[in-house]
Subunit: 228 residues, 2 copies
């Protein structure tokens, strides 16, 4: 029975990868770079995006695909910043999927003005496990890790930390108020994903927001160059 | 294809419920009350348990089943408190399951000294979605919600908040340092689960730990009475 379960999961991942490749082809044709942005619930993905989008990188047109179990709280927040935002809810199929998959993202493509976007940020459902297992057609993956979550999270959820090329350590302003050693947290991140780029940030104080904006700019440029 | 997926999920949940009932029967026979304790990653489940277990409730013998994707960081922490702790890892089957299911818990039963336990606390994998969907044979469900996660979490993950009879609002010491209105957070909790009991706590300062200990005491008594 255990074997059957693994088989079903593998089949589901196979199907997911096929659809993810189709999404990727569509993104490449439209010369859109796609970032899959992940984190635990409440780590600050939306708040960081709000800060970044408030001062858009010069010449980079950003769109956002918001993934949530239900509701449109985050997309409502981002819509005030005058960027194209499409909300995707994972609850219709079941009690609520804990991650976005390639088919869900595919269903949102017709609603996205791909021709008018250079960089599409897909804000995944808040979860440190399954979102790392399902590709959605993205070119890059980044995660936000709040210092309030504790310094042991890279060790407990290593796949997520390994799946990303950038780890944004957020809520740095809370460091004096939590029992977390930043050096040890960074050491743990590097232990599970040696050499991975990290970015220290605080959506509250604005620390690191400029660096994140620069990184998104480079990411968009990376794709536009590859696409020509 | 979507319909097939729902069907597979429903079959999996059916099988899970059957095994959960078998677990529940075993717990009842041993007169053990079981609490399924859930939260997002880093909300403070283990830290609260450490505080509670450091001064055990009079006459209540507690055991802990630790659920993690991998590693034994939390069970190592709790083992120093001289309570029976069994570690359950969800990663062997796949990249890592994002929740405990009834069969995983069943596989741990032989390692648990049920005859010497009044209250078994099952610390689930950190995740606000799937753990609420899979019963494991528990008598009660509680969750920990950190104020650092933001006041919108009940609205974004309502199933989890609805599935629990107690919501522990933790990290209260961080309130002065985060942009969260406690009244609004409590209002949102009550909106998705009207009348649910809430408990304000801080594992760091010890606030609410006595109340949590009392609640666990009542929980254990509830079962012992029902079992006689």
């Amino acid at each position: 029975m255990h074997r059957t379960k693994v088989r079903i999961v593998e089949d589901a991942l196979d199907a997911n990868n096929t659809i993810a490749r189709a999404n990727r082809d569509d993104f490449d044709r439209s010369e859109v770079t796609v970032l899959n942005l992940m984190s635990a619930p409440g780590a600050g993905k939306t708040s960081l995006l709000e800060r970044v989008l408030a001062e858009l990188p010069e010449g980079v047109r950003i769109g956002v695909l918001e993934g949530d179990v239900q509701g449109s709280y985050d997309s409502d927040r981002l819509a005030t910043l005058h960027v194209p935002v499409v909300q995707l809810n994972t609850d219709p199929g079941f009690g609520g999927e804990c991650h976005l998959d390639a088919n869900m993202v595919r269903s949102a493509l017709p609603a996205l003005p791909l021709a008018d976007i250079d960089l599409l940020v897909i804000e995944n459902v808040g979860n440190l496990v399954c979102p790392a297992e399902f590709r959605v057609g993205e070119h890059a993956r980044a995660m936000v890790c709040s210092v309030a979550e504790g310094e042991d999270k890279p060790l407990k959820y290593p796949l997520m930390f390994r799946a990303c090329e950038l780890v944004i350590v957020n809520k740095l302003d809370l460091l004096p108020h939590v029992d977390v050693d930043l050096e040890r947290l960074l050491y743990h991140i590097d232990a599970v994903n040696p050499g991975v780029r990290t970015l220290l940030a605080s959506a509250r104080t604005g620390e690191g927001v400029g660096e994140l904006r620069d990184w998104l700019h480079e990411l968009a440029a990376r794709k536009v160059t590859a696409g020509t």
